[in-house]
C-alpha cells in the first residue's frame, strides 16, 4: 500500500481525484488538504509516497510548500492554467495533469510514477526553477520552527550568508533559509536589492546613509540602525541601484 495525500483548495477538484483513485486500490488516501499549510503538516505527519498538488492555492503556492519540505514526496501536479508552472514542468520533464483531466490520463500519470520512483533530483530542480516565478519574487517563505512564515520582500532589511543558509533579517529578527546568496541575488528584484558584499544583500530602501569604513570599504547604515558591510565592488553596485 502506498500512502497518498491530495492538496487542492477546491473541494470538487479533490473529489474528482478521489473518484479516479478508486480505480487504484493499491493507493490509500490518507488525507485531503485545502491549502499548503495543511498540506505541509499532513506530509510531515503521514510521510506519504505520492501527493497530488495544485499550484495556485491560498497562503502559499504548491511550489512554496514543497520548498519547505526537507524530503519532498513524489508529486503529480494538478493545475488549471499557469503558464509559468507549465513551462517549469516541461523544462524538468515532470508529469502534470491539466484540469479537467480524464481517468485515462490520470491512470497514465500513476503508471509513470510507479515506473520511475526516486525522482528527488528532478523535484529539487523543479522547485529551484519555480522559485523564480513572478509570484515568488514578492515574498520569501521560511520555516520558523514547525511553522511556515511568509515574509513580504519589502519587510526584509538585509540578507546575510551563513554557511549553507542565508539569514534573512527583518524587524522580527532573522530567519534562516536553505538557499544560496546567488539564488537570492537572481530571484530578488535588482531595483530593490543590491549585492553590496560577497556575504550581504541589502534592501536599498532601508539604507539611510553610507559611511566610509577603513581603507577602501564602506558601511551602509539602515533605518533599523543595523550596519551592513559594503565591499569596494559592492559600493559600485549600490551606487548604480541608488542612481548616484
Amino acid at each position: 500500500m502506498s500512502k497518498v495525500i491530495i492538496i487542492d483548495d477546491e473541494p470538487l477538484a479533490r473529489s474528482i481525484v478521489k473518484e479516479y483513485l478508486q480505480q487504484h486500490p493499491e493507493l490509500e488516501l490518507v488525507q485531503e488538504c485545502g491549502d499548503g499549510f495543511d498540506g505541509f503538516k499532513a506530509i510531515q505527519q503521514h510521510q506519504p509516497d505520492l501527493i497530488f498538488l495544485d499550484i495556485q492555492m491560498p497562503k502559499i503556492t504548491g511550489f512554496e510548500m514543497l520548498e519547505m519540505l526537507e524530503q519532498p514526496p513524489a508529486v503529480i501536479f494538478t493545475t488549471a492554467f499557469d503558464e509559468f508552472a507549465i513551462k517549469a514542468f516541461e523544462a524538468h520533464a515532470v508529469d502534470y495533469l491539466l484540469k479537467p483531466f480524464s481517468q485515462d490520463r490520470f491512470d497514465k500519470a500513476i503508471t509513470k510514477w510507479g515506473e520511475q520512483k526516486p525522482a528527488d533530483r528532478t523535484t529539487a530542480a523543479l522547485i529551484e526553477a519555480a522559485s523564480f516565478s513572478p509570484a515568488q519574487s514578492q515574498r520569501i517563505v521560511v520555516k520558523n520552527g514547525s511553522k511556515i512564515k511568509i515574509i513580504p520582500v519589502h519587510d526584509v532589511f538585509y540578507l546575510e550568508a551563513a554557511d549553507d543558509y542565508v539569514k534573512i533579517h527583518t524587524h522580527e529578527g532573522y530567519f534562516l533559509k536553505n538557499k544560496t546568496m546567488n539564488h537570492f541575488e537572481q530571484s530578488l528584484d535588482a531595483q530593490q536589492f543590491a549585492r553590496c558584499h560577497r556575504s550581504y544583500i541589502v534592501n536599498v530602501q532601508q539604507i539611510t546613509r553610507i559611511d566610509p569604513y577603513e581603507k577602501d570599504n564602506h558601511v551602509a547604515i539602515l533605518r533599523s540602525g543595523a550596519k551592513v558591510p559594503v565591499s569596494r565592488g559592492g559600493y559600485g553596485k549600490l551606487k548604480e541601484v541608488l542612481g548616484l
Binding site: D9, E10, P11, L12, A13, S15, I16, E19, G34, D35, F37, Q56, P58, K59, I60, A80, F81, D82, L98, K99, P100, Q138, R139, I150, P152
Partner: protein, 330 residues
C-alpha cells in the same frame, strides 16, 4: 507694403506711374521668395544645428531678389529715366535690408509654426501608441484570469458529472450564460445596474459551486436604483479582484458584498471583501483589475477620482462612482 513702397518712392521724386510699377514688381517678386521659403520649410524642417543653412538661404534669396528686381526694373523703367535709374542703384542696400528682414521674420515664424505642428503630431502619435499598448496590456491582464476560472469551472463540472449530474447540468448552463455575456457585451455600451448585477450573480454562483460553503455573497441594491446606467462589464474586474483576494487567497469562510447607492447624481457601488494581510495586499495586486477599471473611468470621464479603495481590519473596500449625466447622452 505695396502702397507704402509706392508712396515712399513718390516722396523721393519718382513719378506715380514708375513708383507703382516698381512697388508692384518688387513686392510680387518678394512674395514669390516668401512662398519659396515656406515651401522649403514645409518639407524640410531644419534641426537646431542646421539653422545656419536657413540663414544662408534667406541671405541668398534676398540678394537674388534685389538683383532680379533691379534688372527687371532697369529694363522696364530705368532705360528712359536716368533719375530713376540713379535712385534705384542708390536704394539697393535699403531694399536689400528690408527684403532680408522680411524674409528672416517669415522664416522664423514658419519654423515656429511648422515645429509646433510637427510636435503636435508627434504627441498625438505617441499618445495613440501608448493607448494601444495600454489596451493590449489590459486585455492580456483580463485574459490571465479568465482561463484559470474557465478551466477550474470545467474541472468542477467534470467532478459533478459523476456524483451530482443535475448540478453539473446547472453549472454548464450558468457557465454558458456567463461566457455568452462576456462575448456579447461591447465594452463601450452602457447597461442598467440590474443587468450588470444579474451577470455578476452568474459569476458568483459559479464560484459558489467551485468553493462550496466557503463563499457567501450579498448583493444590496434598492429597486429604484436598478435602472441607473453604467458601462458594461465595469464591475466585473472589481468583483474578480474581490474573489481573488477574498476567496482564492484565504482559507476560511468568505463574505463578498456588493452595495449600490445614489449620491449627487452618481451611481455609487461598493465591493467589499476580506483579505489575508499575511499573504497578500489587495492594493499591490492592482494589476489584476483595479487598474483597468481606473483606466476605463479615465477614458470615459477624464477623471481619476472615481475609483477609491480602502483597507482596514482585514477588509478591503472598493468604491466606484459613475456619473449619471453622461449616460443620458447614450
Amino acid at each position: 507694403m505695396l502702397v507704402d513702397q509706392a508712396v515712399v518712392l513718390h516722396w523721393f521724386g519718382v513719378a506715380w506711374q514708375p513708383a507703382i510699377i516698381d512697388s508692384v514688381l518688387s513686392n510680387v517678386l518678394l512674395v514669390f521668395c516668401s512662398l519659396l521659403v515656406i515651401l522649403i520649410l514645409r518639407y524640410y524642417l531644419p534641426k537646431y544645428e542646421q539653422y545656419i543653412n536657413i540663414l544662408s538661404l534667406c541671405l541668398l534669396l534676398a540678394i537674388i531678389w534685389v538683383f532680379l528686381a533691379k534688372w527687371l526694373l532697369m529694363l522696364s523703367i530705368g532705360n528712359g529715366d536716368a533719375a530713376y535709374a540713379n535712385l534705384l542703384t542708390h536704394s539697393l542696400p535699403v531694399r536689400f535690408s528690408i527684403g532680408l528682414l522680411l524674409l528672416g521674420c517669415l522664416t522664423l515664424i514658419s519654423i515656429l509654426w511648422f515645429n509646433q505642428k510637427e510636435q503636435k503630431e508627434n504627441e498625438k502619435r505617441k499618445a495613440d501608441a501608448e493607448k494601444l499598448a495600454k489596451e493590449a496590456e489590459l486585455f492580456k491582464l483580463r485574459q490571465q484570469l479568465q482561463p484559470h476560472f474557465l478551466f477550474n469551472s470545467l474541472n468542477s463540472i467534470n467532478a459533478l458529472i459523476g456524483s451530482r449530474p443535475n448540478e453539473a447540468r446547472k453549472m454548464v448552463q450558468q457557465l454558458s450564460d456567463f461566457l455568452r455575456g462576456t462575448i456579447k457585451k461591447d465594452e463601450t455600451q452602457w447597461v442598467s445596474l440590474q443587468e450588470e448585477l444579474q451577470y455578476l450573480q452568474l459569476y458568483l454562483d459559479i464560484e459558489k459551486v467551485r468553493f462550496g460553503n466557503r463563499l457567501a455573497t450579498s448583493v444590496d441594491a434598492a429597486e429604484e436604483l436598478k435602472d441607473l446606467k453604467l458601462p458594461a462589464l465595469l464591475l466585473q474586474p472589481l468583483v474578480e479582484n474581490a474573489i481573488k483576494f477574498g476567496l482564492y487567497d484565504t482559507t476560511g469562510e468568505t463574505l463578498i458584498s456588493i452595495q449600490a447607492a445614489k449620491e449627487n447624481n452618481k451611481l455609487v457601488i461598493s465591493v467589499i471583501n476580506p483579505f489575508d494581510p499575511e499573504t497578500s495586499s489587495p492594493k499591490q495586486g492592482t494589476g489584476f483589475g483595479l487598474k483597468s477599471v481606473e483606466r476605463r473611468l479615465y477614458l470615459l470621464f477624464a477623471r481619476n477620482d472615481l475609483l477609491q479603495t480602502e483597507a482596514s481590519n482585514n477588509i478591503f473596500k472598493t468604491v466606484v462612482k459613475i456619473p449619471q449625466q453622461v449616460t443620458k447622452e447614450n
